[in-house]
Structure formats: C-alpha cells, structure tokens
C-alpha cells in the first residue's frame, strides 16, 4: 500500500515539527542556562526572522550570520541598517547588610528604572565579486557583535553617613561596544552544493564601566567601625579602549533546492582594553568627631571629614570575548514561504568578568597616602563573574506576499549566562532564558530593498537573594530584576 501525502500535509508537518523543536529547546533552556552582552542581531531580514538566518544568509549580513552565504549572492550589493534599542529594565533593590536592618542608602523596595536611552546601533556592509581570488565573493562589513549599554542610579549616601556630597548620577553601568571591521571571502567548493566562507575581523572595543564598591573601614575604633561609617562607598569609573582580532567561519550546504544547512564558528581573541580609572571615595561625615580632631591632616580626621577622595589611575583589562558555534536549517516550503531553524552555542564560561589591573595614580595625597590606609584606597576594583555557556534557538520564517512585499516573523529563545545568580550585578541584565518575538517587512523596489523590523525580547523576572562574603560585603547586587528590550530597525540595501 502506498502512502500518499499532499503538499499541505508536508508543510503543516514541518511547521509542527519546528514548533515542537523550538518549544523543547525553550523548556530545556528554562531549566538550564543564559546570553551575556551579545548583540541581538544584524540586519532587518535576519532580525525579523528571530536570528534564524545561518542557513539563509542571502544578503550582506551573511558576514555576521554565515560568511559562506556570500558565495551564493549573485549581485554586488551594499546595505546599511540602523537599529534603535531601548533597554527597559527595572530593579527593586534589596541591598541590606543584615543584622538590624540598616538604612544603607540604596533605594530598597522602590522600583528603579535604568537611565532612559534610545541607543542607535548602525551597521553596514558591502558584497562584491571582485577580479581577485577567482570565483570568490568578497565582502566588507562593519557591525557590533557585542554591545551592552545600561546605567543605574540606585544609591545616595545615608544622611547620617554624609549629606554634603552626592553620589554620581550613574553608579552601576556599562557601555561596552565591540565593533568588528570584517573582511570576508566565500566561495563554492561544490557547485550548487556547498560553500565555505571566512571572515577576518579587526575588533575595536570601547568600555566605560561604572561600579560601586563598599569598602570596610580600615579604622579600628568606634564610631568609625560602626554603622553607617563602616561601609565606605567607592565609585569606580573606567574608560578605555583596545583592539583585537577575530575570525568567523561558515559553511553552507544545500541538501536540495528546498533545504539548506549552515554551520558557523566565531572565534574572537581577547581584547586588551586600556584607559583611565577614576576612583571616588565619599568619606564618612561625622561632624561631632571631626570637630574633636585637632589635626586636619590626620587619618582620623580624614575618615570623619566627609570629603571626597578622588584618585586617577591607569587600568588594563582583558576582555575575554566568547567563541560560539551555530547550526541552521532552512526549508523552502513553497516558492514564497521559507522557514528556518537555528541553534547557537556560546562559550560564555570563558568570560570571567572584568579584571582590572591598576597602575600609577594621582590624587593619593595627605592622610589618604598614609601607610595605614593606603591599601584601602588602592584595593582591587575587579568584578569577576562565573558565567555558563548558553544555547540559543531561533525559529524564523519569511513570506513573499508579492514581488514588492516580504513579511518576516521569528521567535527566539536564549538562555541566561548566570542561572545560579552568583554575583549577579545590574551592569549585565541577563536575568535568564529570554524569549524574543520578532517581525518585519521588506519592500523591494527594483534594485532597492527597504526594511523595517522590530522585536521585543522579554527576560524573566529574577530575584537575587542576599549572600554575604566573609568580610560582610554582599555578593553581587540583591533585588528583583525585570528586563525587556525593544528594538526597531531600518535598513536600506542596493543591488547592482
């Protein structure tokens, strides 16, 4: 007996299988791991498909998603895209030192929003068949593989600690941009069957990092050792940049006219970031103690003075960017309808945070330079993390309504890098397995393609409890975290 399936059954079957695979990955993700500061995507078409683009990779953004895809681009083309990102995050601090509940200065119990910023993320690229390297297709593109930008105002010194000085407007924050200048070459190694591509990247990293650390007072007598003077805030701001290199490798395999397979590997090398660090200590202001001190240059006066002790130092930090591997499958259900499924595994465990090495220094004078307290002002400012590798899955589709209009839709599920919440800090709002909902449209006018896309990435709410270090300081930043990312992207591409 012969089984007969009509084409509609096959299409529905593929969709059902795809949906189940996505759901299964989402469930696995929810129970396992997360995604750091990787960019959410490049290009309207790929974004609109939720990033499920490895096995599609049919425009200039292939440089990012799968360099091998360039081999199948027949026209020369250039394209630009601008994405507008808005991190719409919320944090309800629960920062307490324990014991008899203290007024720590944090806005505990209040819903605090991150600083409002609509971030622009421009990218662009060129693809062409140049009279070099034979049949190879070459491309050059500029995009941001890694990006993080968030700022928080969560603290003001308690009145009894110091009501003469204000905390900086941003106390916890990061503005990290890693821009890749990528030269890509791709060629078919089996005609109409298999192609490979490789991209060589020059990476430029710019890092502005804000942090607030609390130092145990080095003083050993009351009232310096007592609440609230025993936790001295140190506001850290590092501003630097550095260069590095990286590679992207891609393979595209066509099973048949309908089904493509893609594989990619991204291997960024460490980027050494160098720059200036500014350290500001707001000293306790104990008016009654200060008035009893006779020597304004003494250490005991300094730690009751309410002054701002400001240091400038040089810093160096290694930015250990994670390697990643991905596979993708694309199936052309009909001439007009295409579905794609992607999976990406990112080795976030290689990123161990920001280990700052400080040298030099200006501003450490007078009592602050006294041997008994010098180490207090020059303590380590590193923020180390223990992240886990993550898995991202994406399901996308594109549908050509007619020769002018293409609709895009996609779903993505992306694990969080810090499933056990160890040392969770508000600079990296990766609260867990994220769900991305994406959509977009492409308008084709002769040789021009215009794109408009949008996405919402919803993070799960995360409650980080209080865990104390042996010196009484808190591990990470406890509180209730909520995060959502809104993106809107516009693109223009021209084929010639």
């Amino acid at each position: 007996m012969m089984c007969v399936f009509d084409k509609g059954d096959i299409r529905m079957g593929i969709l059902r299988i795809s949906a189940r695979v996505t759901l299964a990955i989402a469930l696995i993700s929810a129970s396992t791991l997360a995604a750091g500061f990787e960019n959410t995507g490049v290009g309207v078409q790929a974004r609109g498909m939720g990033g499920a683009f490895r096995a599609v990779a049919n425009d200039w953004t292939a440089a990012y998603y799968n360099p091998a895809g360039l081999a199948y681009i027949t026209d020369n083309q250039w394209g630009v895209e601008t994405a507008f990102l808005h991190y719409r995050d919320e944090l309800v601090p629960d920062y307490k030192y324990g014991g008899l509940d203290s007024v720590t200065g944090f806005y505990n119990g209040l819903s605090i929003y991150n600083k409002h910023r609509v971030l622009t993320n421009p990218t662009g690229g060129f693809v062409g068949k140049l009279p070099v390297l034979g049949e190879s297709v070459l491309g050059f593109s500029i995009y941001q593989p890694f990006d993080q930008n968030i700022g928080w105002n969560l603290y003001q010194p308690p009145r009894a600690y110091n009501d003469s000085l204000s905390a900086p407007d941003v106390q916890y924050g990061v503005n990290l941009d890693v821009v890749a200048f990528q030269l890509t070459a791709a060629r078919e190694i089996k005609p109409d069957k298999m192609a490979v591509g490789i991209g060589i990247q020059l990476l430029r990293a710019d890092l502005v990092y804000h942090d607030l650390k609390f130092r145990s007072s080095p003083m050993t007598i009351t009232p310096y050792t007592d609440v609230p003077y025993n936790h001295i805030p140190e506001f850290v701001k590092t501003d630097g940049n550095g260069w590095g290199v990286g590679f992207r490798f891609g393979l595209m395999y066509k099973f048949n006219e309908k089904m493509n397979f893609g594989f990619t590997a991204a291997l960024p090398f460490n980027v050494t970031v160098k720059g200036d660090a500014r350290l500001d200590f707001i000293m306790p202001q104990i008016r009654s103690v200060r008035s009893k001190q006779t020597d304004p240059n003494s250490v005991t006066y300094l730690f009751a003075s309410g002054r701002n002790v400001s240091l400038s130092r040089d810093f160096e930090a290694k930015l250990k960017l994670p390697a990643s591997f991905g596979v993708g499958l694309a199936y052309r259900v009909t001439d007009k309808f295409l579905v794609a499924l992607d999976g990406e595994y990112t080795l976030w465990s290689s990123f161990d945070g920001l280990k700052f090495s400080l040298t030099g220094g200006k501003g450490l004078t007078g009592a602050a330079n006294d041997p008994s307290v010098r180490s207090f002002f020059t303590a380590d400012i590193s923020n180390e993390v223990e992240w886990k590798n993550t898995l991202k899955a994406a399901l996308g589709s594109r549908y050509d309504i007619n020769s002018t209009l293409t609709l895009l839709a996609g779903l993505s599920v992306d694990q969080g890098v810090n499933p056990d919440k160890t040392g969770f800090v508000p600079q990296f709002m990766d609260t867990g397995t994220k769900l991305g909902i994406n959509g977009g449209l492409l308008l084709h006018f002769q040789t021009w393609d215009l794109g408009l896309g949008g996405s919402v990435i919803s993070n799960p709410d995360l409650t980080v409890g209080r865990t104390y270090e042996s010196d009484g300081s808190l591990q990470g930043f406890p509180g209730l975290y909520k995060a959502t990312v809104f993106e809107t992207a516009f693109s223009v591409a021209h084929r010639f």
């Binding site: 209040l110 929003y113 009351t222 609440v227 609230p228 809104f486």
Partner: protein
C-alpha cells in the same frame, strides 16, 4: 488595499517603537539636601544641692568630687529642631516640644549619640514625618573610668539628685534661654545604651513620674543575671585575666597589682561601679573658704567603710578639688566586689546589689513604672553578658505586670551586634518609639 495593509503594519511598528521607547524617568527619589546642624553643643551645667546655700560661691557642686571633674560640670549637648531649619509638619509648628534625655554608655561622652548620627537621623525622621519634633539632650558619662553607672556617691557624683526634676527643670530653663521660639512640653522621655541603660532606669525609679517613656538597649540591668550567679559575677574571671592576676592567698597581692590606669574595659567598669556603689568614703564634710578671691576647699571629715578587704586605695588617680585652683589632691579608695579568690565578696557585693534595678524597683514600688512606656533593644551578641542581664530585667518587669516592647536583633558574622556597631539603627528605633509614646 495593498497600501492600507502596509500602513497598518508600519503603524504597528511605530506604536511598538513609541511605547517601548518612551521615557518613564528613573523613579529615583529626589535628594533632600543637606541637613541642618541644629545642635547646641554647650548645654553643660553645674548642679548644686537644694536648698542653695546662703553664699552660692561656697556651694560645692554635686559633681565636685567626681573624679577629675573639678568644675563639677554635667556635660550635655542638645538637639533642638528649629522649624526654620528642620522641615516639619505644620501641625508641629508653634507646638511645645517633648524632651528626650539620652545617657551615654561606658566611655561615651555627650557626643556619643551625635557620633552615631543623632542629628541627621532626627532631621531625616522629622522631615519625613516619621517622628514628631522633639528636643534631645545627650548626657556624657563619667570620664576617667568611662562611667560610674550614673550612681550616687561622693566620687561618682550625686547623680540621683540630679537626674530627675532638677535636670528636667534645668533643661527647660536653659531651653527657654537658647530657644526662645520653642516651648518645652510636659512630655519627657529618657533612654540609654549599655551603662546608660542602667542610668536611665535608675533615674526612672528614683524619680517616678518625671519620665513617661524609656528606651534602652543592652546594659548591666541585672547585676547577678538571670541565674543569680551570672551577670557581672561571671565577668570577674575576665577582670583577673585583663589584669594578668592570679588567684592569690592575700588581697594585698590583688590590691597592689590592680591597675586602674589602663584602658581595660572590664576593669574600668568594675572601678566605675565600685566608685558608685562601694566607695571607701561613705560621707565627707567639706569646708569652703574664700581668700584673695580664691576658693579653697578642705576635707574636714570623712567616714569610711570599716573593713579593708577588697579595698584598692593606693592606685587610684588623685582628685583636684580646688575648682579653678588646685588646692588639694585626694586619693579615693574603693572596694571591688570580689576577693582574691575570684569570688564575690559578700559585704561589698551586697552594696552593689542594693543598687541593682530589681532592688530599686522594690524601693520605688511597682507603681513607679505605671503608665511608663518601655522599649528594649537586645541582642544575644551583646558583649559582657548584657543580653542575659537585659532579659532578666525584662522578666522582672513582666512579673511586676508591665509590658515592655522588646526588639530582638542580631548582627552579621563580620559585624556582630556588640559594642556600638548598631547604635545608629538603635537610635532610629528609639526615636520612633518615643515619638509614638509622646503621641500627637
């Protein structure tokens, strides 16, 4: 139709963009700026006995014989919330201010509470409407040994006479002088931490009706503890250890070795207690003369304890009693409450126990605490066994039919609730308690 569809889709994107990217602010509270320093630093006063002598210049201060306090000053500072400098609810403006007296713990001077943020805490709580404005007077402890339990003796000073109406009336008079805009309410509270907690209850029991509320945190509130053999008794071996003393066959060994000049907290506490409760001099007659405009004081008669056991007489710092001009240097002896065997010396200890709060409660009568609101802050991590002593006193109060409010708290591994680590937090709780007790 095609364009309508496009418009709808584009509109949806724009709606998403505008809703997702609208500025909602940060919700950070507005900083309220610098607090005013509304502290009157010199509220010191020389208290004299009643009735006043005919010639005031010859009238010795009640603290004249307090060790190294030749001017006889009771050192005090006052927090006075002026409505022009401390934001306060309209209903409290032009309204009499209640008075709160806070006694410093061992080694605490009149700045102790200000050192732990009293001015700023009060400013914060008043401006936020958490507490009603109040005048807060802080009293420093005895200086040489860090404190004499606010006791009543020749070397400790006659604090019992001072700490009631006399203190309150003096403060009201002074406040009328320095804060003409303010009127002092009839509502009075008292509080203290550590030795100040004992002093506050002592004042309350010696002067029923003067204070309507009391807030204290761990202190020597029951000298023999909950078991009758704990409390301060259990600290005696630690005093020996501090001093490097061994059990000896004679008291002379201890008396000769006992060092009163070092900053040993337990030794100093026992010396302070001995000066207050078991001084060698039990009575003293002083002759005051004025010659060439110089006041001279002479001790013309002394009555002393008849026994020499537990007496320490030759190591104590001397006492200048000549007022501005030193005219004599007197050594005071005192009897420690333990013997050379590290055991309680019964005759001396009985003098201490006569000053224990449960004894003072019996003397005052249980009704002395009627209508007094009471608050305790206590932690099992408190030093010197104060927690047990505090709980024991709380139980005594409850057995007498009182119902104090008790806040049990703890510190952290790195910052245990010992010493004055959490005084800042306790002050907040104490002010809120008194404000509630004062009412609207």
């Amino acid at each position: 139709m095609k364009y309508t569809r496009l418009l709808v889709i584009a509109g949806a994107f724009i709606a998403l963009l505008s809703s997702g990217c609208s500025d909602r602010g940060t919700n950070v509270p507005t900083a309220s700026g610098r607090s005013s320093w509304t502290v009157w630093p010199e509220f010191n006063h020389v208290f004299v006995p009643n009735p006043l002598d005919a010639v005031p210049d010859t009238n010795p201060s009640q603290l004249l014989m307090q060790i190294r306090n030749p001017a006889g000053l009771l050192e005090m500072a006052a927090y006075i919330p002026h409505p022009n400098y401390v934001p306060m609810a309209e209903k409290y403006r032009n309204k009499p201010l209640p008075l709160l007296v806070l006694l410093a713990p061992q080694d605490g001077d009149k700045w102790f509470y200000f050192d732990h943020g009293l001015n700023e805490i009060a400013y914060d709580l008043i401006s936020q409407g958490v507490i009603r404005p109040m005048i807060i007077v802080t009293v420093g402890n005895e200086k040489v040994f860090g404190g004499a339990f606010y006791g009543n003796s020749i070397p400790a000073g006659h604090m019992d006479d001072i700490m009631g109406d006399k203190l309150v009336n003096q403060l009201i008079d002074s406040l009328r002088f320095v804060a003409t805009w303010a009127d002092v309410d009839t509502l009075h509270g008292i509080g203290g931490i550590g030795m100040g907690a004992y002093g506050a209850y002592r004042a309350l029991l010696k002067h029923p009706g003067v204070y309507q509320s009391i807030s204290v945190s761990d202190g020597p509130l029951d000298f023999d503890g909950s078991t009758g053999s704990g409390g301060l008794i259990s600290l005696i071996p630690r005093v020996f250890a501090e001093q490097g003393l061994m059990i000896a066959s004679t008291w002379d060994y201890v008396a000769n070795k006992f060092d009163t000049s070092r900053v040993w907290p337990l030794s100093r506490m026992f010396v302070g207690g001995a000066l207050a409760f078991s001084p060698h001099d039990t009575e003293m007659t002083i002759s005051v003369t004025i010659a060439s405009n110089q006041r001279r004081l002479y001790i013309v008669g002394r009555q002393q304890l008849p026994y020499s056991t537990t007496l320490v007489s030759n190591l104590l710092l001397g006492q200048d009693i000549g007022g501005p001009i030193a005219s004599a240097d007197v050594q005071f002896g005192f009897h420690l409450p333990f013997n050379q065997y590290m055991a309680v010396d019964v005759p001396t200890w009985s003098r201490w126990m006569a000053n224990n709060l449960d004894s003072l409660l019996i003397q005052a009568g249980s009704s002395a605490l009627d209508d007094v609101s009471m608050w305790f802050g206590t932690s099992a991590e408190a030093e010197y066994g104060y927690h047990d002593m505090t709980l024991s006193w709380i139980n005594t109060l409850r057995a007498a039919g009182h119902d104090p409010t008790v806040l049990e708290y703890s510190g952290t591994a790195s910052h245990p609730a010992a010493g004055s680590t959490y005084t800042y937090n306790l002050i907040r709780e104490m002010l809120i308690f008194h404000s509630n007790a004062f009412g609207e």
